[in-house]
Symmetry: C2
Amino acid sequence: MKRNYRTKSKIGLLALFLIFTQVIFSQTNDEVQLRKIYDVALDQGKSYDWLNYLSNQIGGRLSGSIQAQQAVEYTKAELDALGLDQVWLQPVMVPKWVRGTPEFAYFETDPGSTTNVPITALGGSVPTPPKGIKAKLIEVQSIAELDALGADKIAGKIVFFNRPMDPRQINTFDAYSGAVDQRSSGAREAAKFGALGVIVRSMNLRLDDFPHTGGMDYGDTPLDQRIPGAAISTNAAELLSATLKLNPEISFYFKQNCKQMDDVQSFNVIGEIKGSTHPDEIIVVGAHLDSWDLGDGSHDDGAGCVQSMEVLRIFKEMDYKPKRTLRVVLFMNEENGLRGGRKYAEVAKKNDENHIFALESDAGGFTPRGFSFDASDTNFKRALSWKPLLEPYQVTMLVQGFSGADISPLKNDTIVLAGLRPDSQRYFEHHHSDNDRFEHVNKRELELGAAAMASLVYLFDTYGIETAGE
Amino acid sequence: MKRNYRTKSKIGLLALFLIFTQVIFSQTNDEVQLRKIYDVALDQGKSYDWLNYLSNQIGGRLSGSIQAQQAVEYTKAELDALGLDQVWLQPVMVPKWVRGTPEFAYFETDPGSTTNVPITALGGSVPTPPKGIKAKLIEVQSIAELDALGADKIAGKIVFFNRPMDPRQINTFDAYSGAVDQRSSGAREAAKFGALGVIVRSMNLRLDDFPHTGGMDYGDTPLDQRIPGAAISTNAAELLSATLKLNPEISFYFKQNCKQMDDVQSFNVIGEIKGSTHPDEIIVVGAHLDSWDLGDGSHDDGAGCVQSMEVLRIFKEMDYKPKRTLRVVLFMNEENGLRGGRKYAEVAKKNDENHIFALESDAGGFTPRGFSFDASDTNFKRALSWKPLLEPYQVTMLVQGFSGADISPLKNDTIVLAGLRPDSQRYFEHHHSDNDRFEHVNKRELELGAAAMASLVYLFDTYGIETAGE
């Protein structure tokens, strides 16, 4: 337990004794407070009810949609009802991309002999021409393979990116990182060689029939050279690949009429409890309120939103008066723009606010395993010193690494950024697909995540961070 | 890394150096072997296919049922196909309890105004009379409350045990332990005060409509004084309790025609790979092949069976030759008798076999969090020394505690007993109910459990245990 960093300086025996007794006392008090947090979360939790509403009454809430606006209004009203010191909407302009009518695709082995396959337009994709695109397919496993094939083999075809996520990865986010370049950059790269479109194997470790959307980036590809991209379900990707091995001459047809509209007005939703002794030190707990339009966005990231709201509700319920200012921030537009995260950091900087700690939950509402920290070694060690307090709650994985997209613009030399790390095994079965549904969120797992977050917020509120100057 | 316990003795510098290099080498080799185990389990796993057959082609397999016999034959054939050194059936007589026709229950608020509620007979219960039982209800929260009320308040009534599992427990098995006495002893205790029957709130942390069965024990209650017991779904328990508060005079009706038959012949299924250098030291990995008759027994304990089989299959696939003899044991009759576990230990003792390590998986096919050990401090410390090897696989919870029911009869002064500890949050939503279904088992989570088990078996095979005499 290396919690009291003041012991570094030279101090007398009496001071040592006083500090020692204080450490003993505060340790016991910390244990009591964490137990209270968990009791409130597990016995009187509100997060599951909120998520039920957000998922089943509002549903998928892509930036710029009516549902996104409904989610803003709903969560603001719920935060208002908590009796926080202040609740407000922070305006932010967001991109608006719409899917249009359902996509349609098939492959044709012989003229007239077609097999329909489930696809979904990638977020941000251009549409196909109104009559769709029909062309021969070329299957590749990577962008490197695409480059090696070159224009001769690619021009005039539809490129089929089919590298699976690696099942041997223990953390499924590592498997995602190892495959997602096909989705994010595939269309941009294939266009360079004259491809007509790209079909990407869904980012899903399981074989099933759900196509998974997700952001793609055309970079500086001129508007008239952009080609449409769609994801195909893993089952259909397997079928297509097997069919191509039998007959490389099959053709593929797909049609989508998605569209990028003008930016529209939206909001980050913010609520805060003012700090009692260090009101100028701000702690943020947050998640993103927008989701993709498939499914209802329960895991990505409705869960994170209701957990973040629950953190402040738990403290109100416990009648805990934070020393620092605690803020819940529901960011708009993480999925296809990060405008909300950037806006929040921009306003914070303009107002010369001092953020000491920000915690994000954006990895699903599963049993929490731990947290990952983007922080100085000193502050990471401080977090590690709290491990014995978190272990009784099976929160044991405290590691250095990525925190979260929405809080990343807050990064500076002193702030501690952290991300909740739930068990990752089932996440990519749901992520960005129609299979991201409320029924796949477990009440207890969701609540345990909220309690773990509240515990870490409590500890940073109680002990603060070490700033560079100290 | 405190793996080499020989460093305790006085040794020269050269020996120290040799041992040091050996430790370094074996550490690296251990890392390589564990990675291989996980690669085979996650990339070429067979456990999920086996479970699919066991659950969907055979289904629930209560001791003495045709399904239990089918499960014996199926798993033996699959073990035969692995090319182990020996596969055999170990005869064991098991109790046979049958549910009969579906149970039926309702409560009546006014004459003729009834509400049906889902119940299931507790395993081992006597039937109601053919016409059922109808009586006033008395709700209690505990056996202590029952005792305090006494015969005056209890005689002639149906006792309704309604203490919920405590949602504040982090490990749901602790919540189970804190509530299950109502199910196991409720009927026995209520009979002492002249109750006509007992209805027990299902052991389920979630509010839903599934009644959960499970074993009950009449102890030495004479046959003619035994009263029937049934579980009621948590939703119906809540409804019943609320209704009783409005009107304590409501009556309850239930009917069940379950029956205890004569014992029948069954089998433990056993397969082994002979040890190359210490064939007389036996390592067991096992689970129970029987299940309750509701649902298909996927989590309890089909998952453990296929994981145990997978451990030996992984070693065959890796072409790993164990030093010790590795045995997979699929125990019969854990749920309502433990006859298989007792028989296995009895035969092992008769044959003077030397079991050094036994590992059981009987807590569901969820993401593995760690293992609990019933072992000497020295051997527990040895297991702890392997933590750095297991941590990359997120297997971090190595604790002392209960191992497993089926291996418990093997307990002696030297053997190391251990149980796989998967994430427990969702287990009791499925346990002993029609909601224990294949669709609720996740392929990766199941495979990660098998790989964790194989890793621990590998380590005990490589390093052995410290026996009392050393």
